[in-house]
Symmetry: C2
Subunit: 398 residues, 2 copies
């Protein structure tokens, strides 16, 4: 398979409900966001391995032979049940990839994750393949939208297909194809390693939702897929307010210690919103009623107030809610809060003009806005000519 070009994509994620409450043992719902990361892997004849990440402005290449000594660094790695990458392994790979501050640090950690996955697969299949890999994403990085997971999933899918550990499912004449449940499981487990290189101790939710697509419920470390999930139209709005997830999580914990009898039921209520929403989504197959959407909107509104109540709101997130509310739309923060992104539900029948007007008003506030869907398919194999022109162009590389 190293002789064939492969094209893959994997979605980002948004938390629909349950952010923060999940830290305290409540249910969260993570959904696949149809802003996708695309990867193109093409064989090379010159024995080199190259990695292009145009979003990061990064382009690196190595002699495959030059990478061989690093195999020792990931020597303990065995697919797929191995230990998490050790701090020493990660350090060694980052050092090899070079650069350790600012944008360079981000490039370096992305390269380290690639090297880890490449070497894992190379060690497994006994070949150091010479390939060009280009990864381009519609997802903004560092916005809590799972861009690193989508990156790891694409890499895992491509490298595992390349070495033949799993099939490459795209048949002649197909536009798009997906892997079997078992293969997705292999991809997910390797992608999780990439996430571990990048984040140290990730929950595994981001790579799972990017692999499986649709929606996942997450509680006390257990991840399971919702049976059937409709794709829901949303607006995703990035307030561009920077925030620290760690600080926000610590703030909720401090408040919980300060006012346990007040805060505990609020977290319980947020968990109940996740469960209620799960029930509505699973019942929404077929012809969703206006009542279903109305209930989803109610839950979005209530949760936004609860998230403000537990202290993870922000004036500009409230602004998103106000602006969209003027157009009859319902919004909540998603993820860590304190800034970052908000999601706005759109009914199937929401007039394009209402959406356009909302986007215009949000943009005028200085926010960045995407109209997309959640509940999107997970990692997919594509026929390059069938992708949007913009994506094809991006995957040509420079």
């Amino acid at each position: 398979m190293w002789t064939r070009s492969l094209v893959l994509s994997a979605p980002g994620k948004v938390i629909l409900h349950g952010e923060h409450a999940v830290v305290h043992g409540k249910v969260a719902l993570a959904t696949a966001l149809n802003l996708r990361t695309f990867l193109r892997m093409t064989p090379r004849q010159d024995g080199r391995v190259s990695l292009q990440l145009p979003n990061l402005g990064s382009r690196r290449s190595w002699e495959a032979a030059e990478l061989r000594p690093l195999l020792a660094a990931v020597a303990s790695v065995e697919l797929p049940e191995a230990q998490p990458p050790s701090a020493e392994q990660v350090e060694k790979l980052k050092e090899f990839a070079g650069g350790d501050n600012g944008q360079e640090a981000v490039q370096s950690v992305a390269a380290a994750a690639f090297l880890y996955l490449y070497l894992s697969v190379a060690s497994k299949c006994g070949v150091m393949p010479a390939v060009d890999i280009l990864v381009w994403s519609e997802l903004p990085t560092g916005a809590g939208l799972g861009s690193s997971a989508a990156y790891s999933v694409c890499l895992a899918g491509a490298l595992l297909s390349g070495c033949g550990a799993i099939s490459y499912p795209l048949q002649e004449g197909q536009e798009v194809a997906r892997w079997t449940k078992e293969e997705l499981d292999v991809i997910n487990r390797l992608a999780f390693k990439g996430e571990q290189v990048i984040h140290g101790n990730p929950s595994g939710v981001d790579n799972a939702v990017s692999t499986w697509g649709g929606a996942l419920r997450y509680i006390s470390g257990k991840i399971s897929a919702l049976k059937r999930v409709p794709t829901l139209r949303i607006l995703l709005t990035n307030t561009k307010v920077p925030r620290s997830t760690k600080v926000l999580v610590a703030g909720v914990k401090a408040k919980l210690l300060k006012f346990p009898t007040v805060m505990e039921p609020m977290l319980t209520s947020i968990g109940a919103i996740s469960r209620e929403c799960e029930g509505i989504l699973e019942a929404m197959t077929g012809e969703p009623s206006q009542e279903d959407y109305s209930r989803l909107e109610d839950l979005v509104d209530i949760n936004q107030h609860l998230l403000n109540g537990i202290g993870v709101g922000h004036a500009l997130l409230d602004r998103v809610c106000e602006v969209t509310s003027c157009h009859g739309l319902h919004s909540k923060l998603t993820g860590a809060g304190g800034g970052g992104c908000a999601i706005t539900l759109l009914r199937p029948g929401t007039a394009p003009s209402a959406v356009e007007d909302a986007i215009r008003d949000l943009t005028q506030c200085g926010f960045e806005c995407w109209e997309t869907v959640i509940g999107a398919p997970g990692v997919s194999a594509h026929a390059l000519p069938c992708l949007r022109a913009e994506v094809q162009k991006a995957l040509q590389g420079s």
Copy 2:
């Protein structure tokens, strides 16, 4: 005592925490608001009874003898353990008082409440006293601030003191005096009758807080006074948005039926806020710490979000919160919500300039604003010359 002039005042009320949740069996905290209703009762020599209510633009007078036939209408009345006023009694008194639409209806029900209390006391003491009664209030009516209860409490205190059923506690040379616990109980029970005439089926919280002052906890129909309560500076802001308590209460109930697992913990959390606040207030005697105020502010913020979450917020109440937040102050709606009033906590050390600036900004929004305190004394007897000039002037009548 009918030969002496009496001057009384009674406070309004604000719900500090627990509005709406109290309907569902959670604790509410009602506090005495130091916007007061004043009453002056002076003996007449001409056998007439007159009632002046300058706030309502109402002035009525009757021959005391002319009221005698009405005694039969309240004949079943016995102080203080009697049945509530029957619909027939109230109807008869309103008919006698005349006027049944618009402003006239309000005047008529106020006169009916007066007549009921007057006849109750007259029947008890066997005299139809000839008196001038003037009631003037700092409280806006119909804003959920307990103006009708303050009116009933003033009337009950004056009439019961007049007939000698209780003492008139003001001694020569005193500025202000209060009744004994037992006497306050008698006043409260009669005032409740006045509230029943006006409201049909009131909870009894408003007259209790106006009688006792300070703060009361209210749960499942049981009212009890907090042991010790500090007076707290507040801003009271009237958004002037009209709303129906009945509609708002029904809205919460509908939401509770729609999303029981989500809503029930939110109401539990609101009840926990009341209990937490109660604990802080009772511990705040002596030298309240900045930490105490910080906790009170936290609870105000959290409850405002919860009240929004259960659906009783309003954009203009959010506006009050935003505007005061710009001056470092913390606000929540009080009472039914959906409009009406908000309270803003002021620390003892809050700079006068911050308060003035906040009031200016709130006034510019079209709101009406009072700087006052909660936890104020209940019904009190006053020496007229010691009252503020504005109050003295109002009590002179026209």
